[in-house]
């Protein structure tokens, strides 16, 4: 599903963000990427959804070879990938429901289907009762659940989450992980980048550790 072969990414010419990274993620896997701040976690995710472009190496994702990707194809690549950010990135002038529906409208989902689909993912996120609220009236955990609902609304094959619990307390954080597990159980490949070890300790999931842009370790935890 995802394959990175000898991927290197430079910033500002010579400082390296990622060095010779090799990574293979199977369809339906749920993995964590960890490491200290500045280890390259965010860069790795950005390379996957083409917000950054690798300087060396090859990246294959959801059937796309990013080296050969044309600019016109970027939106279509991203429709296969749901993205969750640490700062949620919700549109504050839209309600919870509208945020989720908006993502569906962007990719051309027929109006008739949007309502039902949006309600389904809000149900998954446990937020149906908040559908008409504006994001700023919600707690951080709730806002992140809206962001997740939006990310999976278009049924992506891959879900990328960059420090999804970075702004949340422990209880909200484990609720988020539960939702990820639920999404993963339906077949979606999930990659979570986090420095919070509590999220994956004794999870039984594969954990990849980055340090100074290199893969420093890999194993089940």
């Amino acid at each position: 599903m995802i394959e990175m072969l000898n991927v290197t990414k430079y910033y500002d010419g010579n400082s390296t963000a990622l060095v010779d990274v090799n990574l293979k993620v199977e369809k339906g896997e749920f993995i964590f990427i960890t490491g200290p701040s500045g280890a390259g976690k965010t860069t790795l995710l950005k390379l996957l959804f083409y917000a950054e472009i690798a300087d060396e190496g090859q990246i294959l994702i959801a059937g796309w070879d990013l080296y050969k990707l044309s600019k016109r194809s970027i939106p279509y690549l991203r429709r296969n990938i749901g993205i969750v950010f640490q700062d949620f990135k919700l549109l504050t002038n839209m309600t919870v429901f509208e945020n989720v529906a908006f993502a569906m409208r962007v990719v051309g989902t027929p109006y008739k289907e949007i309502r039902q689909k949006a309600l389904n993912v809000l149900k998954l996120a446990g937020l149906v009762h908040k559908a008409d609220d504006y994001p700023l009236r919600l707690s951080g955990g709730e806002q992140q659940r809206v962001a997740i609902a939006r990310a999976v609304g278009n049924e992506p094959t891959i879900l990328l989450a960059d420090e999804p619990t970075g702004n949340l307390d422990n209880r909200s954080a484990s609720a988020i992980i539960e939702i990820f597990k639920e999404i993963n159980s339906k077949g979606t490949t999930v990659l979570v980048a986090t420095h919070n070890e509590n999220l994956f300790t004794s999870s039984g999931r594969r954990v990849i550790t980055l340090d100074s842009g290199r893969v420093a370790g890999e194993g089940l935890r």
């Binding site: 959804f49 917000a51 939106p75 279509y76 690549l77 991203r78 429709r79 993205i83 990135k89 549109l91 908006f102 993502a103 409208r105 962007v106 990719v107 051309g108 939006r150 278009n154």
Partner: protein, 287 residues
């Protein structure tokens, strides 16, 4: 999809009412300047044509000239519309009439001092200095011709003024068009800054460039179109005021307003320039 672009574009406008109104007003002022220029040009053309009718070449004849032969010769020239003969006697009678009470002066001279003359009028399409001057030269060469007069100075002046205005118009038009593109692109850029986050999110969700662009194109095009309509209305207002004043000063001259065929392109070009302006501002934003 189109209904989405339209409704979002209109929403942008209603969210930034003041900004949009300012832009519409500024654009309409530049369009109006061009419109005023067009009207000026049109009316100078009308004036040129009106005065042109009065362009007449007066040919003074030597005494004892074969006038019928001369008239025949002059009529052969393709530029000539009509030739009217005024005899020595008629010229004297007209002069007497003009002199009124002073006519005794003529009586004291005894002999008729005035020459016979021919008034040559020129066909409409040849009423400019480039045709009239060679015609005058040809007539001067004919036998029996004493002197030839015509309003040479102002024919030259008006012709070259109109030529100059045509060039100025082209220059002014392109300059103002650039200005309009600049204004729209700046207004749209401000909207873009205000909605930067939304655009970023749309990109991550997988929105195509066309989808993101649509509402902003609608916004720019509507701005330009609105400005075009406003400028036509303002032009008509100013024209009416000015025409009222001209009526007093130049009786008999009917100032003209732009025809419908010249008016319709104004909002239409506003529409296109607005579209272009928003395209430009987004080029960099959507990279």
């Amino acid at each position: 999809m189109i209904s989405y672009h339209l409704s979002e574009g209109l929403r942008n406008i209603s969210r930034n009412k003041l900004l949009t109104l300012t832009a519409i007003f500024t654009i309409s002022v530049s369009m109006m300047i061009f419109g005023i220029f067009l009207i000026l040009f049109l009316n100078l053309n009308l004036l040129h044509e009106g005065w042109g009718e009065r362009i007449q070449i007066t040919v003074y004849l030597k005494d004892d000239t074969d006038k019928d032969g001369l008239i025949k010769e002059i009529k052969k020239e393709k530029e000539v519309a009509e030739v009217i003969y005024t005899s020595k006697e008629k010229a004297l009678a007209e002069f007497r009439k003009e002199l009124g009470r002073e006519k005794e002066v003529l009586d004291s001279i005894g002999e008729n001092p005035l020459p016979a003359s021919l008034d040559v009028s020129v066909k409409k399409e040849y009423r400019s200095s480039e045709f009239i001057e060679p015609l005058v030269e040809t007539i001067k060469m004919l036998s029996g011709v004493e002197e030839v007069h015509y309003g040479e100075e102002w024919v030259k002046d008006l012709t070259s003024l109109l030529k100059g205005l045509r060039v100025t118009g082209l220059f002014l038009g392109s300059l103002l068009a650039l200005g309009i593109i600049f204004i729209t692109s700046n207004t749209i850029r401000l909207t873009l800054y205000a909605r930067q986050e939304e655009i970023e999110i749309m990109k991550f969700i997988g929105a195509t460039k066309g989808f993101i662009r649509g509402p902003f194109l609608v916004e720019g095009a509507l701005q330009g179109f609105g400005a075009g309509v406003l400028s036509v209305l303002l032009l008509y207002l100013f024209y009416s005021i000015a025409a009222y004043g001209i009526d007093f000063r130049l009786p008999g001259f009917n100032p003209g307003f732009l025809a419908l065929s010249a008016l319709i392109p104004i909002p239409l070009s506003g529409f296109l320039l607005g579209l272009l302006g928003s395209l430009f501002s987004m080029g960099r934003f959507l990279k």
